[in-house]
Symmetry: C2
Subunit: 492 residues, 2 copies
Amino acid sequence: MTKTSAKDFYHLFSQETKDRKVSPLKTFIKYFGDPNMVFLGGGLPLSDYFPWDNIKVDIPVPPFTKGIGQPINKNATEITTLDLYKEKKVADGDIPLARSLQYGHSQGQPELLKFIREHTEIIHTMQYDDWELLVTAGNTSAWESTLRIFCNRGDTILAEAHSFSSSLSAAQAQGIITFPVPIDDKGIIPEKLAAIMDNWNPETPKPKLLYTIPTGQNPTGSSLDAERKSQVYKIAQKHDFLIVEDEPYYFLQMEDYVKDPSLRKEVKLSHDEFLASLDQTFLSIDTDGRVIRMDSFSKVLAPGSRLGWITCSNQIMKAYLALYEMSMQAAAGFTQSIVSATLSKWGQHGYLDWLLGLRHEYTLKRDNAIDACYKYIPQTDAFHINPPVAGMFFTITFDGAKHPEFTTKFKSDPLLLESYLYEKAVESGVIIAPGSWFITDGETIPPQPKESKESNNPNSVFFRGTFAAVAADKLNESLKRFGQVLHDEFKV
Amino acid sequence: MTKTSAKDFYHLFSQETKDRKVSPLKTFIKYFGDPNMVFLGGGLPLSDYFPWDNIKVDIPVPPFTKGIGQPINKNATEITTLDLYKEKKVADGDIPLARSLQYGHSQGQPELLKFIREHTEIIHTMQYDDWELLVTAGNTSAWESTLRIFCNRGDTILAEAHSFSSSLSAAQAQGIITFPVPIDDKGIIPEKLAAIMDNWNPETPKPKLLYTIPTGQNPTGSSLDAERKSQVYKIAQKHDFLIVEDEPYYFLQMEDYVKDPSLRKEVKLSHDEFLASLDQTFLSIDTDGRVIRMDSFSKVLAPGSRLGWITCSNQIMKAYLALYEMSMQAAAGFTQSIVSATLSKWGQHGYLDWLLGLRHEYTLKRDNAIDACYKYIPQTDAFHINPPVAGMFFTITFDGAKHPEFTTKFKSDPLLLESYLYEKAVESGVIIAPGSWFITDGETIPPQPKESKESNNPNSVFFRGTFAAVAADKLNESLKRFGQVLHDEFKV
């Protein structure tokens, strides 16, 4: 395959990005490591005064034959101890604390970048040469930065018609208009997106970017397949917008749901089978460098690591770097040292083992949740359960008009019903998120397509649940409670 | 003393802050910890899948009788080992990893907040009741957020006429105008600030805030005394702007410089003497809640901790919190756990011992640097060295017109000379920052006062050095090199 350079997207940068001047103090960086140069330039404290030296961290080791989910127990799981020092490297992937706890390396520490680069080459098929990585403080922060990098007040972005509310709120606070793209149970509907863009009011500036959560979408749990991705990408090329793929759930792809437990078999995928099973990414079809991919360790290692990374063209990475140098500066040093040492100890194969372990755990959790849905949620035509194949979320959708008091008590307003049911659920001891919390504000959208029977129904109501956050018994109990609310309310 | 509530500063918020909607998902928070409630709401992974459990960290223990500066060595320094677990607390200040590595607590983990609150009450005299703390990812990030919280494009802020270039660049990228406030070797000149504000063009919106580094100012090394602070505060009240005190160097206050080494005596301050020696802060005189103080662990523990805190009124804290919830979310979990456990192990008294240790080290480093300046920098009337009493920086100021080729080779342009000398210094193997890198762009400022003889001279040039970043021998060598450049160039 002939590789190409990424296209120039300077014209899509925000005024802020265009105006940002790199601090002259950063010109020092080119002299770092020069043994003949003495630095009286920067206000760096000596690492002699960092009060931490040796840090020891217990981690489980691949191939994780006893599973990955446990309080790590020295008797039940094979563990090893990482040894991190101020100056010394025990292994190649170690980042000495004297460096990770010092200023510098805003793009990320080299050892961590090296691991992620190798990982990227295993997972994606990069189509252009000048791609870069940038270590972030997680996807929420990366997305908020993305808005600063590209959007001015009054600009428009595209987003799935239901999307992650924090991401939408971040845009709205910045005075950015969100324009909803119709979705069905397979995600963005390319024909609808094409129609929106082809009929875009020529007096209004076109959207600069599409924000999408392609895998295990939040809140719908849907995943966008390769065919649709390809169609969406062509629309982005035609109308010159960027695609921001926010992929925190990418490695929470699961086996298909099989309703009859007796037909389920334990799947043991080889690494090759696992890699082949993963959805093709926008990044892998991106010949232009118009995809910005945001990955995160939040869902696969721990949210409080506050660590993720962006993959994009060199030009775009530099814009993020300039922003980071005058805001977060760099991801936290302890995190980079501990995560890098962990990953490097595991190696690329060991990390795939970990991700396979997660896949196994999430498949079990999803199956348990959907089983409980079928057991406890009313099984009539009015109710619909959509078993997800990725992510943390499932949705319970129903026809609000089937509630006996829909036209009376709720004045035929599905939002009033939704809000009432949310409160009833809370009273019964279960927190589940109403679908209306995730509506992408914006222009009125065209009628929904036939593919989406629920959203075609103006009285359709849904709730988003997660099978991630709670153990199996509690999840069963909570769906029993929520099911009871629905049975009681709908008199079914 | 009668305590008061902070004033309402809603009118100074940016459009973005006024438009920011708190995510409905945050309404879950009120149910956290309710044993009867099951959460199907949030996408939180189970801590069972966090691959880290036991973390052991070696730290030195108070009273640090053998000093604080060393690679921590088990033979030379008394050390103890912190034991951090997923679920278990060994000590009160421990933050279990299952919590610090999970989502939540955007304001900061309670154990860390508790320590900082007690510390705040020891250091400052809070004048109003409803003050709050917010844990940040360091002051660079906190300042960049501050601009988002208060300023719209086109707004003006005040800053010292020479200030930290990254802070100024962050404002300029956001389309915020920086207006320079004249300074002398004691910092902001209150009369000049008063004149600027009293004569403010009534057709231009007044500045919303003053950005200041009161202690060990960057780049000048000056410290603003209590009298000037009080005058500046009254001007802020009269003209209704906020004061942002950026204080990363606050605990790097030192003994006065004594030129004759034989007259220096080793100072051993008690805790009470140490506390009494610290400069009075803007926070301690803030009756209105118009001071936003930014503290950082970067200079007193380690920069890569990416950890600091903001002290401000409850109303203002909430605006930061809403921004953080949709950007950084929270400071990194490993950092919060390790720093909190360290501080809590030391206790408030132990932390004061650590800060006293730093004071001792920085006094020695400053003395060494200034001694070397007097030894190597030309000792003529044209050259001026200003021994700092706080921070990491010293300045070498000189009259550019005294260069033999000032009017010819440098066309009487001090900036051309400065740039030439910078390059000469680099050639000789020393990096030192030219003063022009720190100029606060903005309106033309009124003539400088008599107090400031250097800046009164239009041909004045200065360089900023740091005594923090390098060991004594290297610092001596570098000042020898730089001194040689000046001797050669000025033919003295």
